[in-house]
Symmetry: C2
């Protein structure tokens, strides 16, 4: 695949929020289309509260109780604007478009919006910072990411990399997290397919735990933890589900979820913005393959049972320092997982997981790897690649 | 309430599992009633797998895929045995009864049940240990814990304390965790009300994080972290929902869940087994009040909307050393929370929580405290107590 050019343009929504179009052809003029909605100025903020018992920050975003909840299809805010049906996207069509979330979990708040902590010694709170963005990758309301062409998926990769670099450079951002929730079983409140980006003002606990584990491993062995884990999984082989020239995907030996994949570039980089062209090109194809395998794990909707496999797709990136430099010891990777454990049955986070953060998995990772491999699109369908499927 | 005597007797189920009856009257003979089911010997085990990226253990219990799932009421395994309807409880009735879970997440496995790790450098696995128990507290299939009499709740407290002491003394147990999942929204697979006890062979991540935070706080301030947190919340006052002579309940300032309570004894103890009689007596009454307040947070089933408030009730106890001694720096407390954020709407653990372990809460803790206080049973209904409800 040749290096493709993506055309980026920036506009503003009626309430002042930023919108960034990533177009596959030049001069679309989309960013210049005015948002005709009579929106009040965007002034939502959230706050961070400190939990001393767990030494963690929690975001409090009370305004989200009133967010848009499963709107009817003819009021979808993620469709492009069509005639007088005004949406979050003023343009009449789009390839990939990213904009600030109207109901953000993380957004700067004025200091005077904090509760008065004068008489409240338990209240360690600070205004939030950071930013939440929505990523739309198809104007087709009923499509899925797995329906995208490789070219469109490649444009999404470019958008992820762009947002990672731009948001990571902000002084109030410690970690940039592109992700997608798919399926009402995991609480999706808008049915139009979309991803999200959270730019956290703190290092999220999972990333902090990995960073600490990597620090200990380096001190004990002199090696990078992520390199060790990837090398060990490749040497073992039996949980590898797909491997190309630049990426490898495996079910982790200690998977927490019924079907869970970690996808690593073979050449370690800290963030999506650090991937080279060849890595980005292959990623677009590999990611589509993995999503299609997930769709194939269970009987499909037209076979009369469940809705499509719900999943969470979670990019793990290096935390960034105050100067915007990512931690070079951290390895970019994707965690892709579903909470469906069998047709009609979900893995719930109940007493052990939600109460104690101790995971119980009912599906052996080796069996999960077998099933994912079997559900992958046939190699023959991807003639340009010498992918080995074990 | 005078000190009540509980009569304890131990039996065996047909497959060798232990069953312990806690009766409110002597000489029931329940433990001698034979289990007439033709069960094969109990041989289920699980394994623990180590995740190097997070420095955590995950339990793999593949046999649980085939556990009993929402059986019809006339096949309920937690009803007492009635005539030829044989259940997990051989006796014809019970007050409180605890037995080993037939489909345990944690159970010793023979070493040869482990996958061959010879060629698999990624596979750090060990046989599980520990134990999972089921706690039945009413033979009424359609009741809830909140329907129990104070006397019955007091018997449950005795059973929790008994199991904590006995399981904590086992060399393969590092933490004893009594909990209850209520509601199909959180994945309950048996509708008969019941609690559970997990005796973990490792310190669960949430307890480990609290222990580490307490260590740092002691080093920095010389004080116990839990004492500081409870004192700060009592001084602030505005998130206290109930306070008696021996216990205090508050919504934490950094609550993760829409409605969440932490209940602490005013005199710090490491485990339920260390509570004195007065603490146990008041706990039984306070706990019922809190559960009833949770039931009152949302319109009830007969008002035509949702099923009763789903909740997770999670006892946080001190980890125990190899000699069975609990960590005296850790403070016993209960975390009680619901994932319902509004009628018909749940708080889902999606991208931020499940992917990054970063919690977003949509309900201000101060508002949650107001609503819980308003839903508490009236003080007048508890004339024996001088509880102050702020």
């Amino acid at each position: 695949m040749r290096t493709r050019q993506v055309f980026r343009s920036v506009g503003r929504l009626a309430d002042g929020r930023e919108i960034v179009y990533f177009d596959e052809s030049p001069d679309t003029g989309r960013a210049e289309v005015a948002d005709r909605r009579p929106l009040p100025p965007f002034s939502t903020g959230s706050q961070l509260r400190y939990d001393p018992l767990l030494d963690e920050w929690v975001a409090l975003a009370a305004h989200r109780q009133h967010r848009t909840f499963l709107p009817p299809p003819d009021e979808c805010p993620l469709d492009p604007t069509r005639g007088e049906r005004l949406s979050e996207i003023p343009a009449g069509d789009y390839d990939v478009v990213v904009f600030e979330n109207r109901f953000p979990s993380l957004a700067p708040a004025p200091a005077d919006a904090l509760p008065d902590a004068g008489g409240d010694p338990a209240l360690a709170a600070r205004p939030s910072a950071g930013r939440c963005e929505v990523v739309c990758f198809t104007s087709d309301h009923s499509a899925s990411f797995s329906d995208l062409s490789p070219e469109r998926a490649r444009t999404v990769v470019e958008a992820w990399a762009d947002r990672t670099a731009e948001l990571g450079a902000r002084p109030d951002v410690a970690h940039v997290y592109p992700f997608e929730n798919r399926g009402i079983e995991i609480g999706v409140t808008l049915q139009h397919p979309h991803g999200q980006i959270y730019a956290y003002p703190f290092v999220p606990p999972r990333i902090a735990a990995m960073r600490e584990a990597a620090r200990k491993h380096r001190a004990a062995t002199g090696a990078n933890l992520f390199d060790t884990v990837v090398a060990d999984e490749r040497r073992a082989g039996r949980r590898i589900v797909a491997e190309g020239e630049h990426w490898t995907a495996f079910v982790p030996a200690a998977a927490r979820w019924p079907y869970e994949i970690r996808l690593f570039p073979l050449r370690r980089v800290p963030t999506l913005a650090d991937l080279d062209e060849a890595q980005r090109d292959e990623l677009a194809r590999d990611y589509l393959d993995l999503l299609r395998a997930f769709d194939g794990l269970f009987p499909q909707p037209d076979e009369g049972t469940d809705p499509p496999t719900p999943y969470i797709s979670a990019w793990h990136q290096a935390p960034v320092g105050a100067d915007g430099t990512p931690d070079s010891e951290f390895a970019l990777h994707l965690q892709l997982f579903t909470l469906r454990r069998a047709p009609g049955k979900l893995k719930y986070l109940a007493g052990s997981e939600s109460g104690m953060a101790a995971w119980i998995n009912d599906v052996a990772p080796e069996d999960a790897a077998d099933r994912i491999r079997a559900a992958l699109p046939a190699v023959a369908a991807r003639p340009t690649e010498n992918k080995e499927q074990r």
